[in-house]
């Protein structure tokens, strides 16, 4: 950790936040019939898996199907970046036709990823409705009229700052930090 890093969620808060989000979903979705979870690649899938686990821990009945959706081919900034975007795996082995979809990503910032996600999802059918769940909602820099239905934590930050969500599975620790990248 560098001197200018600021912890937004430590591992205890992280855990509590996920538990709270899971309970909020239960309030709204009851028994989760006709409901599926879609995590956006690459990093929304960790949160999707965690939410699924948490729901199952609360009640075994809440066994929701989870898919991973890659939005690379649907992005609007392809060829506007120096490097071509690298796709990740899409793994949605169910049809979302007439399903209630909980779309999950780790950070909501400009809204462009979510826009691509909504577009990409249509390749798997027409959902009855879509709700958005994010761990971190970065305010003030939305490019599109997109809002989350469930928010882990709101963060007020300037554009030059970055939010980094770390996961036990890959980085060894659950936490969220806000930092200013050097050389920028």
């Amino acid at each position: 950790m560098k001197h200018n890093d600021r912890i937004i969620l430590d591992s205890t808060q992280f855990d509590l936040t996920i538990k709270r989000l899971a309970h909020q979903l239960i309030e709204n979705f009851n028994d989760f019939s006709d409901t599926v979870i879609i995590g956006l690649q690459p990093r929304g899938t960790f949160l999707a898996a965690r939410i699924k686990e948490e729901l199952k821990a609360i009640n075994k009945k809440f066994d929701v199907q989870v898919g991973a959706l890659d939005v690379t081919f649907y992005r609007d900034d392809y060829r506007r970046q120096d490097m071509p975007l690298v796709p990740s795996k899409t793994d949605v082995d169910f049809v979302i036709e007439d399903k209630k979809v909980i779309l999950i990503d780790d950070v909501l910032f400009t809204g462009r990823t979510i826009r691509s996600g909504l577009d990409a999802m249509l390749a798997f059918g027409r959902p009855r409705n879509v709700q958005l769940l994010v761990l971190i909602n970065r305010r003030y820099e939305r490019h599109l009229p997109i809002q989350a239905n469930y928010i882990g934590k709101n963060v007020h930050s300037v554009i030059s700052e970055r939010v980094k969500v770390s996961w036990k599975e890959t980085e060894g620790e659950d936490r969220v930090i806000l930092y200013t990248p050097e050389n920028e």
Binding site: L85, V86, A123
Partner: protein, 308 residues
């Protein structure tokens, strides 16, 4: 690295190993896309691609066309049979006229060796070689490598034999470059009149006897006898060719192991390969065709990433 080192796809010769690996890796994602209920992605919605076919083609042309449509590109189709080429227009004039309609990429098949390279030097669009004479056919080699990888995993140290009319085959040359770059061992098999003299300079050994070749390999690529390109009689008769170099079920079953059979199409059934072999479980001919769309989508997608 996730960027191609080249601006055009002219031949496998010009690609680095990591370019080939990048295209194959990207193709796995597109293969998933084309097996979805809705098979289309909007990646190239602002790109226009001209398909220029100065030589007959069914599979390659359709495959490119569907790959382009799945990527949401706009398409112009041109074939020389009913065009002003017949009135004496030069290649550059034809292409520049098409490009003035704001075309970003050109997919071209041409009977002359080096046509794609020539075009790349003289026009601004990104060029994809869809076959130039008996020279290269890069996307075919890429889809073949993809299909082998899907069936056998890593190509390193895999034994692959290319059987038949190597002399007239752009598929053979591109495949030799591609497979060697990926670390596979490549040999060719066929009557010496159909094997080019330069083959040893590519580090490719010739096996004369078909059964010996098949017993050596993990994968056999059967090539089509290209009667339309043969001015001379290079073998006495098709019947004699198929007796010596045709693959039938009996020969296939007599081998020590189960090998994979490939064919770039179109098949001359009963000449280089019999129907029961072409339609057998060991044949991956139709997988090749399906993979062709995914691989071409990957190549077009990655090349489009280099448009300024």
């Amino acid at each position: 690295m996730n960027k191609l080192s080249v601006n055009h796809l002219l031949g496998i010769r010009y690609l680095e190993k990591r370019d080939i690996e990048l295209i194959l890796e990207t193709a796995t994602h597109f293969k998933e896309v084309i097996n979805r209920p809705i098979k289309k992605v909007p990646s190239l919605r602002d790109i226009t691609i001209a398909n220029l076919f100065f030589e007959n083609s069914t599979r390659t042309k359709l495959s490119f066309e569907i790959a382009e449509k799945r990527l949401s590109a706009d398409i112009l189709n041109f074939s020389s049979a009913n065009s002003s080429v017949k009135k004496g227009e030069t290649l550059i004039d034809t292409v520049n006229n098409i490009l003035s309609m704001k075309v970003d990429m050109v997919v071209m098949r041409h009977p002359n060796v080096g046509a794609a390279e020539f075009l790349a030097k003289h026009v601004k669009a990104k060029i994809v070689n869809a076959g130039d004479g008996a020279h290269e056919h890069p996307t075919q080699a890429l889809l073949d490598a993809f299909s082998i990888q899907e069936k056998h995993g890593d190509l390193k140290e895999k034994n692959i034999v290319i059987v038949g009319d190597v002399l007239h085959s752009r598929v053979a040359l591109s495949n030799i470059f591609c497979l060697q770059k990926l670390g596979a061992n490549v040999k060719v098999c066929g009557p010496l009149t159909l094997i080019p003299k330069y083959i040893s300079s590519l580090g490719v050994e010739v096996i004369i006897d078909l059964k010996e070749a098949l017993n050596w390999c993990d994968v056999a690529m059967m090539l089509r006898i290209q009667l339309e390109r043969q001015d001379l009689k290079l073998f006495p008769s098709l019947r004699e060719y198929s007796m010596l170099y045709g693959l039938d079920k009996e020969l296939l079953d007599s081998l020590d192991k189960r090998i994979t059979i490939m064919h770039p199409g179109p098949i001359n059934r009963g000449v280089e390969i019999t129907s029961d072999v072409a339609d057998s479980k060991q044949s991956i001919i139709l997988e090749q065709v399906q993979n062709g769309v995914a691989v071409r989508m990957a190549a077009l997608y990655l090349l489009a990433g280099r448009i300024e």
